[in-house]
C-alpha cells in the first residue's frame, strides 16, 4: 500500500471494520433468532423450527428475514414522519458504534480507545433515545407506553450495569478494553469473576442488569405483548422493524461480549496454552452467555414495573456499590496495591 496516504489507510481500515461489524451484527440476528427458537422449543419439550433448511430448521431465520424485507413499509398517517424514520436508524447506530471498542483478539480492535469501556456505555445509551423517539413518533398509546417504560428501565439499569464494572476498572487501573483483557491472562482463575467474592457478585449484577438493558424477559416491560401489543415498535413494519430486531439481537450479543471481556477473560482460554483461537474463544464465551440469557428468559415470568424499579434502585445499586467498596478493601488487604 505504498501509494496510499496514512489518512487513506485509516479511512479504508475504518470502513472495512465497520462493514465487518455490521456483518457480525446481521449474523447475530440470524443465528440468535434461530437459537432462541430452538432453546425455547427444547425448554418447553418441543422441537422449534424443523423444516426450513432440512437440518434442525437452520434456515428459518434467513427465510424470516427475507419475508420481512418483502413486507410493505407503512408509516402511519398521524405519525411524526421524520422521527419515525430516524428512530430505527438511531437504535441500530447505538449498538453498531459500541462494537467498535470490542477487543476480538490481541491487536484486533476497531478503535483502541483509552476510555473504551466508558465509550461503550456512552454510545449504547443512544439506544434509549431511539426507543423513546420511536414510541413518541408512532403516535400510538401502546407505543408511547412501551417507549416510556423502555426509557425508564434502560436509564435505571444503566447505573448498576456501569457500577458493576467499576471493581474491574479498580483492579486494572485502566478503561481500555484491551488492557482489561490482558490483565486476566493465565487461566480461568485469573479471570475477574473468580478474582474475589465481590467481583463474583458484581458479575451476576452485571448479567441481571444486562438482561434489563436489552429489554428481554423477565424484564421485557417495553415489549410486553400481553398488554402493549409490541411496545415501541408496534407501528413499525418491514425493513424498519427489521432494524429494531437486528439491534435487539446485536445488543444481546454485545452485552454478552462485554461481560466476557470484562469478567470472563476476553480472548484468553480457560486453560493457559490453549489460546490458539482468541477471537473464537471470545465468541464462544459470548454465545454461552447468550444461551444463559435465553435460559433465563424462558424460565422466569415477567416482573411488574414497580418490582423492576424496586430491584434496580433498592437492591442492585446498593449491592454493586457494596461490591465496589468490598473489592477496593480486598485490594488493600491482599496487598495488591503494593
Amino acid at each position: 500500500m505504498g501509494g496510499m496516504s496514512d489518512q487513506g489507510l485509516h479511512v479504508t481500515g475504518a470502513a472495512l471494520m465497520a462493514t465487518l461489524m455490521f456483518t457480525v451484527m446481521a449474523l447475530c440476528a440470524i443465528v440468535f433468532t434461530w437459537m432462541e427458537r430452538k432453546v425455547a422449543g427444547f425448554i418447553q419439550s418441543r422441537y422449534g423450527p424443523m423444516y426450513t433448511g432440512r437440518w434442525q430448521g437452520w434456515a428459518q431465520a434467513v427465510a424470516d428475514m427475507l419475508k420481512i424485507l418483502g413486507k410493505e413499509d407503512i408509516i402511519p398517517a398521524q405519525a411524526d414522519k421524520g422521527l419515525f424514520v430516524f428512530a430505527p436508524i438511531l437504535v441500530l447506530l447505538g449498538s453498531l458504534l459500541a462494537w467498535a471498542a470490542i477487543p476480538w483478539s490481541p491487536g484486533f480492535i476497531a478503535a483502541d480507545l483509552d476510555l473504551g469501556l466508558f465509550y461503550i456505555f456512552a454510545v449504547s445509551s443512544m439506544v434509549v433515545i431511539g426507543i423513546l423517539m420511536a414510541g413518541w413518533a408512532s403516535n400510538n398509546k401502546w407505543a408511547l407506553y412501551g417507549a416510556a417504560r423502555g426509557a425508564a428501565q434502560m436509564v435505571s439499569y444503566e447505573i448498576p450495569l456501569a457500577l458493576a464494572t467499576i471493581p474491574v476498572i479498580l483492579n486494572v487501573g485502566s478503561l481500555n478494553t484491551q488492557d482489561i483483557v490482558i490483565a486476566q491472562q493465565g487461566g480461568m482463575f485469573n479471570w475477574f469473576v473468580f478474582h474475589d467474592p465481590f467481583l463474583f457478585i458484581a458479575f451476576w449484577m452485571y448479567f441481571i442488569a444486562s438482561i434489563a438493558e436489552t429489554n428481554r424477559g423477565p424484564f421485557d416491560m417495553p415489549e410486553t405483548e400481553s398488554e402493549l401489543v409490541a411496545g415501541y415498535h408496534t407501528e413499525y413494519t418491514g425493513m424498519r422493524f427489521a432494524f429494531f430486531f437486528l439491534a435487539e439481537y446485536a445488543n444481546l450479543f454485545l452485552v454478552a461480549i462485554i461481560a466476557s471481556v470484562v469478567f470472563l477473560g476476553g480472548w484468553w482460554a480457560p486453560i493457559p496454552g490453549l489460546d490458539f483461537a482468541p477471537a473464537l474463544t471470545l465468541v464462544i464465551k459470548g454465545v454461552l452467555l447468550v444461551f444463559l440469557n435465553m435460559w433465563v428468559r424462558w424460565t422466569l415470568p415477567r416482573v411488574r414495573v414497580d418490582q423492576l424499579m424496586h430491584l434496580c434502585w433498592k437492591v442492585m445499586i446498593p449491592v454493586t456499590l457494596l461490591c465496589i467498596v468490598g473489592s477496593g478493601l480486598w485490594m488493600i488487604l491482599s496487598g495488591e496495591l503494593g
Binding site: F42, I43, S45, W295, V296
Partner: protein, 167 residues
Amino acid sequence: MVQYFQDIYSAVSSALVGMTITIKHIWKKPVTLQFPDERQVMPQRFRGFVHNDTTKCDACNICAKLCPVDCIYIETEGKGKDRYMTRYAIDYNKCIWCSLCTENCHTGSITMSHDYDHAVYDRRSLVYEFMDPTEGKVPCHRATRIELGWWVEPKEDKSDGDKGAES
C-alpha cells in the same frame, strides 16, 4: 430490614429452582409429533375413515341398507352369477362413523381404518370411490382394489385393544 434480605434470598433461590427445572427439559426428548411425517398410533378400535376391500366385497347391499344416513352407494349390473359391482362409494360428508356397516358385514370387507385426517379443500373430494371407474365391469367376487393414496394400513398394535389409547 430482615424482610429485605429474606426477599433477596427467596428471589435468588426460587429463580435457581426454576432454572434447574427448565434445564432438565432441554435434555428430554420433545413430546411433539411431526405430524405429516409421524402419525399417532391410534387405539385398535378407533373409528377412522371407513374402508372397503373390494376384493372381498360381494355387493350384498347390507351396509347401504343399514347406514342410518345413507352415505354408501352401491351400483351393480346383471343378475345371479353374472352380477357385477360397478360402483362402491362412501360419502364422508354424511358418514357419522357409527360403525353399523362394519359390524354387520358378513364378508368382513368393510372395516374402520385408523386414518384420521379428514380435512380437504373441497367437500366433493370427501366422496370416495372404491371401484376404479376406468376398469368397467369387474366380477363382484374378484374386483380389484384401487390403491388409494390416502389409505394407511392400521399399525400392528401389540398392546391389548383398549389400552392402545395410552401409547
